[in-house]
């Protein structure tokens, strides 16, 4: 049913292809060759592909990055907060004393201190940060995971986009105008668990829809499939021409590939990892999820979202960070970066750690911090991002970027640049409107090695 529909703008690569295929009229041979050559060229930037996959570490609720990556020691007391900063393995970078293990991998990490946007509300801010496009009622933007799934197909038998959580109860992190086929495959048995949840262990984790339920063996599946194919033969006589019938058949075969493949299922078999490594990730659901995420990436998954909640610290911010939030984040994120690096995977895997916004520099009467989108830090590692580098800064009070201000769009554009995808490439919405991937996004070249 995919029809070439009229669109708002027009001159797409497709036009070049069409001219090449059927444009014997009015074009000289050299013109034709030129146009064909152009159509066969990879999209701009694609030759520079650095990374092939992404792990998004999502801090749901909006982390107080001012107490994590951007301590303001010279600010007044009602802003500075309770934490001191410590030196790290990256010269000149200092971070919170409660992230000591992250301090050890800072030489492989990039901190962006000058990110800012304007939406201090959980829902739309989550959409903004996870899509790289400011939300509007007119368009449902796809999450960067869905875009990755669309632009970088995964290997057969492997789902391109896996998420350990349904962001905002399934109202964010989805495929938007790309259509439901690019939604993430959801891992069940995890969820955005409280940070200290030691709950479900990896043995219970499964990706919804890509593994057979307990008691349903592969052999049974093959048997049943044979029976179903014989029943379905009657229908073959029907509308064989319909894309739909063939499409379903193709998906049927793909589904079988996935169910037969043990790559993904195996990713959850953490027992295969050495005990020492497992303990570095820790026993929390978040830690096991991160280790499973690494294994999923190894299996060929393009984009994995893992998440840790509890960051909405309107009250008792410092106590919560010190005891509940920062220790697992510190442990897991540092373990992930070090592990990827140790395996030589960090060069082509981007780790992106962010939440929907930062928190108010000014501390409220409940020792908490409220929503603050006008300044925040995010952390990146791998995939050709510049190691041991801090991008931008905030003013003395941490209220707003002081140097190199940038936006969620810019970071998304930069990540896609590293994936070898032109951030301004256009996709067509179902209404026939061409949309650039990240219309407002600029590639932050200084973030790149």
């Amino acid at each position: 049913m995919a029809q070439f529909r009229s669109d708002c703008e027009g001159f797409a690569r497709r036009d070049f292809l069409k001219i090449g295929a059927a444009g014997i009229f009015g074009l000289s041979l050299p013109q034709l060759l030129q146009l064909e050559a152009r159509a066969n060229q990879p999209a701009r930037g694609q030759q520079n592909r650095r990374a092939t996959s992404v792990i998004l570490v999502w801090l749901a609720g909006g982390p107080a990055t001012i107490d994590m990556w951007d301590i303001r020691p010279n600010a007044p007391e009602n802003i500075r907060g309770e934490f001191r900063e410590i030196p790290t393995t990256a010269e000149g970078i200092r971070i919170s004393e409660h992230l000591p293990r992250m301090a050890q991998v800072m030489d492989r990490t990039t901190v962006v201190r000058s990110l800012a946007h304007t939406i201090p509300s959980h829902g739309p801010a989550t959409v903004f940060m996870t899509t790289g496009n400011k939300p509007t009622p007119a368009v449902q933007y796809p999450s960067i995971g869905s875009l990755t799934a669309r632009m970088l197909p995964a290997a057969p038998g492997v789902p391109p986009f896996v998420s350990f959580t349904e962001l905002r109860n399934g109202t964010a992190g989805l495929a938007g105008y790309l259509g439901t086929g690019y939604n993430p495959f959801i891992v069940e048995g995890a969820g955005a668990a409280p940070a200290n949840n030691r709950g479900p262990i990896a043995a219970n984790l499964r990706v919804r829809g890509i593994t057979l339920p307990t008691g349903f063996t592969l052999e049974q599946l093959e048997n049943r499939d044979r029976l179903l194919r014989s029943f379905d033969r009657t229908f073959e006589a029907a509308d064989r021409n319909a894309d739909l019938v063939d499409g379903l058949d193709a998906f049927h075969r793909q589904a079988l590939d996935i169910l037969r493949s043990d790559h993904t299922r195996n990713a959850f078999n953490l027992q295969q990892e050495p005990e020492a490594l497992r303990s570095r990730y820790g026993t929390t659901a978040f830690g096991q999820g991160a280790l499973a995420a690494r294994r999923l990436i190894e299996a060929g998954v393009r984009f994995v979202t893992i998440s840790i909640g509890g960051w909405d610290t309107h009250g008792q911010n410092f106590n919560a960070l010190r005891t509940r939030q920062l220790p697992p984040l510190d442990q897991v994120l540092s373990a992930l970066i070090a592990d990827l690096d140790g395996r030589g995977m960090l060069d082509n895997t981007i780790v992106y750690c962010a939440g929907e916004f930062g928190r108010t520099p000014r501390i409220n009467q409940n020792s908490g911090r409220d929503h603050w989108a006008r300044s925040m830090s995010v952390v990146l590692a791998g995939g050709g991002f510049r190691r041991g580098y801090v991008h931008g800064s905030t003013d003395v009070q941490g209220m707003a970027p002081a140097t190199d201000p940038c936006t969620p769009d810019d970071v998304a554009a930069t990540i896609f640049n590293q994936l070898g995808i032109d951030p301004h490439q256009e996709l067509m919405t179902p209404t026939g409107r061409p949309m650039q991937l990240f219309r407002e996004g600029r590639v932050l070249n200084r973030l790149l090695a």
């Binding site: 036009d15 019938v245 169910l259």
Partner: protein
């Protein structure tokens, strides 16, 4: 700002004159492909035409609001002044060089001799190059208004090919405001709406590729015209086109077209095929095995018509259309008013409101009026009476799942959203819902493939400028009192109370100004009369009166097209809410006849449904024949199509003989087509709805309902633990059959009837017998069989 821009324009004019005076060199004209010639290159007619055709002024290139590489053109070329200024003056005049035309940056870039972000657009010394060069050489003149188009004509206006593999030139002639005519074929843009049927070169040569119908869309400087293309099948020598029975004008008009295409309609569907299809289409369920048996046994000649009447009167038929109306009108649960825990209930009231009206077969125009012209007090009650009704509905809603909302004359929920809504949004939503027109492109620029300008967009949006959500002067006191009471009686620390607000027509109207002049813009119906704001009057009512007129170009057509699209799988205009110049109906006569029938019968929805369902066209088999196998949009056979997400959930439950639990906001025992909210408490259902494409209803677009197959759907049917768990429900189909005394043959028949609505074929019986020999366990064999049946394409598709 305005003054400054005017000064800027005058400045340009004077430059134009000065530059123009350079023109001295001898003009020889430029030869175009196809033995044509441009005698005198004109900026507006030719240069701007090429900017459009070569894609220079598209939104991703120089037409973007920031321009590209310091060069900005008006998007799609609607502003000659701006474009002339950009070419002539910006970049210190280096863009063109009159003394050395070949050294003009414009040409160096476009030919790729100097690095150009947009790559090479044409070769040096190509005809395009010569057009630019000639114009520059002649001093780059611009005569304001020279390219103002009065009319574009196409020759031929439509093409009926004899067969695939032919070619035909379309010539594009423009009449300009100065009275002259010009062949602008080389400067127009051509696209095909279906490149499988016909292709078109960028010089307007159309090639027929394979049998079918489509259109070629020609655009020239904002004018959009379609060329209908018909490519018939090549029939074998001596082929006798058979006589096909006709039940009504629908059959006559469809078969007339098929005749032109040399396509023979498929056979009439058999009874099993018909019953399954019509049951899914009308009520979103499967027929039960008993119903299938009874229908097959019925020998009366009018049993199909009787079945259609029975299904159209079925309560779930109204529920299914309430679901469709919920899509059309944007029943988007999270966007409704706080408190959050009552949003799903409000969505259900919305759904129930439509359901009641469909069940009563209320005329379509009256239903639309209840939405489009809704106010909370419906223009008749006193504030005191009204607040009592509100209190009762809110109370009932808080306690249970039924209330009196559906009895209210108008659907004020449509206008009651938590966040303030702009008039632009209301304009876009109402145009899509009730006219089938997608306006959103025209918010920022003239619609590239339709007639709508920014001015028309804004004038239309202004109709909604007086709609207010709050408290009217008359009702202010009772509303304030009620809200004070609610706050007082709310539990401590609970700010989640329902605040009463009222939709009313305010004493003043918000108004968007004219996009260029900034002057006030009188509200105006789309392509219709002005509707000036008068205090105390509802402009929406005037709009509605214009819409419902039998000769309105959109109102009846857009809704009969939705009905047709629902029952036949593809709209006459497709997508169903994309009526535009570039997207003409596949069968104009049929659409017009259906619309006339609808208006003549006082917008009786069920009358049209009955006509469609009783047509032979609807009842054709989905099995194709040699002549019609390539048909995609002329209804030569029944199209195999996916089911709505809600129907998928219900049909699975029908097959498995189980019911669904939707949570506390929905009455127990409900079917998926009866559910109003887009958010559900049952995560497994939320998942199923999402992967089968239930729309979130956030944008006013039918395209939100994803109807393409996708991998997760297949995986869901094969592996979902909740779904597979239903196999084991004690009262479900599988366990009941296994407990019964039926023979294995009878169980197999029952399973086929419950899933595929037909008896197993001899081949099916043989497949099962063969399987049974290998699987000795009876329970296992039948579990596998039921699994296999719901995983067939025959099961999950409507055909």
């Amino acid at each position: 700002m305005i003054a400054a821009s005017r000064a800027f324009r005058f400045g340009l004019l004077s430059i134009a004159v000065v530059v123009g005076s350079f023109s001295s060199s001898v003009s020889a004209g430029v030869d175009l492909p196809g033995n044509k010639k441009v005698e005198e290159v004109d900026f507006e007619r030719h240069i701007m035409g090429l900017f459009g055709r070569m894609g220079c002024n598209s939104g991703s290139c120089h037409g973007s609001f920031q321009g590209k590489g310091g060069f900005r053109l008006s998007l799609f070329g609607y502003e000659p002044e701006r474009d002339f200024g950009s070419v002539i003056r910006d970049n210190l005049g280096r863009r063109i060089s009159i003394s050395d035309p070949d050294g003009s940056l414009l040409l160096l870039k476009a030919t790729g001799q100097v690095d150009h972000g947009g790559g090479m657009r044409f070769l040096k010394n190509s005809w395009q190059y010569k057009i630019f060069r000639e114009w520059i050489e002649r001093g780059a003149p611009w005569q304001k208004g020279s390219g103002e188009v009065v009319k574009v004509t196409l020759n031929p206006p439509e093409i009926a090919f004899k067969k695939a593999g032919e070619a035909q030139q379309v010539q594009v002639m423009a009449s300009f405001a100065d009275g002259s005519q010009d062949d602008i074929t080389a400067f127009a843009d051509f696209r095909t709406n279906d490149d499988a049927v016909a292709d078109v070169s960028n010089l307007g040569i159309v090639k027929s590729l394979r049998p079918g119908s489509t259109s070629i869309v020609v655009t020239y400087r904002g004018n959009v015209l379609p060329v209908r293309i018909l490519v018939p099948m090549e029939l074998p020598v001596g082929f006798q086109y058979p006589k096909v029975p006709e039940n009504s004008f629908i059959d006559r008009l469809v078969f007339e077209r098929l005749r032109q295409l040399n396509m023979v309609p498929s056979e009439l569907s058999n009874d099993e095929e018909f019953l399954r299809r019509v049951t899914i289409d009308t009520i979103g369920q499967l027929p039960t095995p008993e119903e299938v048996r009874a229908f097959l046994a019925d020998k009366s000649p009018d049993k199909r018509a009787k079945k259609i009447d029975e299904l159209l009167a079925h309560p779930l038929h109204a529920a299914l259309w309430a679901t469709k109306f919920s899509d059309i009108t944007g029943n988007d649960t999270p966007s409704l008013e706080n408190p959050p825990q009552q949003k799903a209930k409000k969505s259900q009231m919305w759904h129930d409101w439509f359901r009641k009206r469909i069940a009563d077969n209320m005329p379509y125009d009256e239903i639309v009026r209840g939405v489009l012209c809704a106010t909370s007090r419906d223009g008749q009650e006193t504030p005191e009476q009204w607040i009592e009704v509100v209190k009762k509905i809110d109370n009932d809603a808080a306690k249970g799942v039924s209330n009196d909302y559906a009895d209210r004359p108008s659907l004020d929920l449509y206008w009651r959203r938590q966040q303030a809504q702009t008039v632009e949004l209301w304009g876009e939503r109402t145009a899509a819902a009730f006219m089938g027109v997608r306006l959103e492109c025209a918010q920022c620029h003239k619609h590239p493939f339709d007639r709508w300008s920014q001015e028309e967009y804004r004038a239309y949006a202004n109709i909604f400028g007086a709609v207010t959500l709050g408290a009217s002067p008359e009702a202010k006191k009772v509303i304030n009192d009620e809200n004070a009471e609610r706050k007082k009686s709310a539990p401590k620390n609970n700010n989640q109370i329902a605040i009463v607000r009222e939709v009313f027509i305010g004493p003043t109207a918000r108004s968007l100004p004219h996009p260029e002049s900034g002057r006030p813009l009188t509200p105006r119906a789309l392509g219709g009369p002005e509707i000036p704001f008068q205090r105390g009057q509802d402009m929406r009512e005037t709009l509605f009166q214009w819409l419902r007129k039998p000769d309105n170009p959109f109102f009846a057509r857009s809704f009969v097209n939705r009905i047709w699209g629902h029952y036949l799988g593809i709209g006459l205009v497709h997508p169903v809410d994309d009526f535009s110049l570039a997207n003409p109906p596949s069968n104009d006569k049929l659409l017009a006849a259906l619309a006339k029938e609808f208006a003549d019968h006082h917008y009786d929805i069920r009358h049209i449904e009955r006509l469609v369902l009783n047509s032979r066209v609807y009842q054709l088999s989905s099995k194709s024949n040699e002549t019609n196998k390539l048909d995609k949009n002329n209804y030569a056979r029944s199209y195999v199509r996916p089911m709505m997400a809600e129907a998928v959930v219900d049909v699975l439950n029908c097959a498995l003989g189980v019911s669904e639990r939707f949570g506390n906001d929905v009455k127990p025992g409900a079917k998926a087509v009866e559910v109003g909210a887009t958010t559900l408490q049952n995560p497994s259902l939320t998942y199923a709805f999402r992967i089968f494409g239930r729309p979130p209803r956030t944008t006013a677009c039918d395209c939100e309902r994803a109807m393409e197959p996708a991998l997760p759907q297949k995986l869901y049917l094969m592996t979902d633990p909740i779904l597979l768990g239903k196999f084991n429900e004690q009262d479900g189909r599988l366990q009941s059959l296994l407990r019964s005394k039926k023979s294995e043959d009878e169980i197999l028949e029952e399973m086929f009837l419950a899933t595929l609505s037909r008896l197993p074929s001899a081949q099916d019986r043989e497949s099962f017998a063969e399987y049974r020999r290998r699987v000795p366990n009876r329970r296992e064999a039948f579990t596998d069989t039921l699994w296999a049946l719901i995983n067939t394409r025959e099961f999950i598709l409507n055909h």
